[in-house]
């Protein structure tokens, strides 16, 4: 039987699932395309799109979309939602996790690329899991939400064939020190850049500022996000430590996020003279890979990350929750400025569920005003204040997803929210 266009059409009419199986794979209730983009067109593709046949026009996505692009200009109550243009979408994926019908699908996936790299004997495949992943991946295997299964996740990654595990929590610690030092230098005037300083960990927030408020770009911290730092370090310092050619190192970042796929493909992230991050997958895709390899997740032994870039602290683990970056930075800044040892490390005022939380911390007689924004939709007044130049804050943390990375667009879905599964 020859494969002609007519034949293909016939099979697609008779067995539609055959075609769809080839193109899309289902990861934890969400369809993911197997399309791997190349580096040059990274900002000219969709990372998310609505499957029109599944949209029931319930407007859950429109309520959470921070830019409103899923609505479009002509809002009539009965038109099905679609992401009208990739330039105005920040790829946060909140529409996807809030859709009760699973109608929104991911258009980019590196799973096949990673499988190829794992089977390639010359390549050293490095896994770099983010702090928030370990608190949610257990949900796919029957654990309670919020239970840390880091040890089992590391074992599962080793069984999948990853050669080295370098923990992104380590890079989170590094980010705290670099970003905290930058903040202190900005306040004391060593760096000639405006205050308030915004955090730069959230890729969706970065894309939002780059496209909608370019006048605030000098306010963004110049630090890369933790994964950008770890990717660059893995191919320089890490490669030297394990005696490998950085050309043969393949770095895989495992994130609770869809926007990180966009970030990982950015040409700016190539300071190791290679691509710092070769592939990015999210929590759901990792759970899919573990299930596909038939690994018995619950009965795995706990193991630890590999040395050199693997040790982490409590300040790094709270990066996953909104207010965590701020709290970690305060823990660092207090000791760096005052020279005293900080005994009560909890800063309760930056925790909580409100959209905007503010706090003032006294260090050596100086007052540091900080602000935490949880959810990009709540950031509007803060952005306006910073644009006008009358902001009283020194440091502002913005996370696009309400509640922080633990509720990111790449995390397992809320079973209470969905009609499918």
């Amino acid at each position: 039987m020859f494969i002609t266009r007519k034949n293909l059409l016939k099979t697609s009419i008779l067995f539609p699932f055959l075609i769809s199986c080839n193109k899309y794979s289902k990861t934890e209730g969400i369809y993911v395309s197997n399309n791997v983009p190349n580096n040059n067109e990274y900002d000219q593709i969709y990372y998310l799109q609505v499957n029109q046949s599944k949209c029931h026009v319930c407007h859950s996505c429109a309520e959470v979309c921070p830019t409103g692009i899923i609505n479009g200009k002509d809002k009539t109550p009965n038109t099905k939602h679609t992401i009208h243009h990739y330039d105005a979408c920040v790829n946060c994926g909140q529409c996807l996790v809030n859709c009760p019908y699973g109608a929104i699908q991911e258009e980019v996936s590196f799973i096949r690329d990673i499988e190829k790299a794992i089977n390639d004997k010359n390549k050293t495949v490095v896994a770099m899991p983010a702090p928030a992943v370990r608190y949610a991946i257990g949900e796919a295997f029957g654990y309670e939400p919020g239970f840390n299964t880091a040890g089992k996740m590391f074992s599962a990654l080793r069984e999948l064939g990853f050669d080295i595990i370098w923990d992104n929590e380590f890079a989170a610690d590094l980010t705290v020190i670099e970003e905290g030092t930058e903040l202190i230098h900005r306040i004391t005037g060593k760096i000639n850049k405006p205050l308030p300083q915004f955090t730069s960990c959230c890729p969706a927030w970065i894309k939002y500022i780059e496209s909608f408020h370019p006048e605030l770009i000098p306010h963004l911290s110049t630090c890369k996000s933790p994964i950008g730092m770890l990717g660059a370090l893995a191919k320089t310092y890490g490669a030297k430590k394990i005696n490998k050619n950085p050309q043969n190192i393949y770095t895989v970042s495992i994130m609770p996020c869809i926007a990180k796929k966009f970030e990982g493909l950015k040409p700016e992230l190539s300071s190791s003279r290679y691509r710092d991050i070769d592939a990015t997958i999210n929590t759901r895709e990792l759970a899919y890979m573990i299930k596909k390899a038939k690994i018995d997740y619950k009965n795995l032994n706990d193991t630890e990350a590999d040395p050199f870039l693997g040790i982490s602290t409590g300040a790094a683990t709270i990066f996953g929750v909104s207010g965590g970056v701020m709290e970690a930075a305060l823990r660092f800044a207090y000791e760096a400025v005052s020279g005293k040892i900080l005994h009560t490390v909890e800063f309760e005022s930056v925790r909580g569920e409100k959209g905007i939380r503010e706090a003032s911390v006294k260090i050596n007689g100086h007052v540091l005003n900080v602000c935490v924004v949880s959810g990009l939709k709540n950031a509007q007044p803060i952005i306006e204040m910073a644009t006008k130049g009358n902001s009283k804050y020194h440091f502002i943390e913005v996370m696009t997803c309400p509640g922080g990375c633990i509720n990111g667009g790449g995390q397992p879905l809320d079973p209470d929210n969905s009609f499918i599964l």
Partner: protein, 103 residues
């Protein structure tokens, strides 16, 4: 089958016993605070933060050796090269979308 007054009392007591048990269970369920997925996850994060050996980034031994062996000090030349980045102005694309009346 005959049932005496004694039997009847016995069944009544058993019935009310079960009734009280179920009622207390329902009360317990109602009194349990509802926690969303968000709350459960963030509580987990703060719980495991408390259990960590080190709780401040500057105490991390691996960070200390990294600075000693490779980066020298925060915001050094090498750290600027590897750990810092610049941002691209993408606003012209959004403006052209506005001109095309898409958003």
């Amino acid at each position: 089958m005959k049932s005496s007054r004694k039997d009847f009392l016995f069944y009544i007591i058993i019935f009310f016993g079960y009734f009280a048990l179920i009622l207390s269970k329902i009360k317990h369920l109602l009194a349990m605070p509802y926690k969303s997925l968000k709350q459960k996850r963030s509580e987990g994060v703060y719980y495991f933060d408390k259990k960590m050996k080190f709780r401040k980034s500057q105490d991390n031994p691996a960070i200390k050796t990294l600075y000693k062996e490779f980066l020298e000090y925060p915001l050094s030349h090498r750290s600027h090269e590897l750990l810092h980045t610049h941002y691209v102005n993408r606003s012209s694309r959004v403006l052209s979308l506005k001109k095309k009346n898409i958003i």
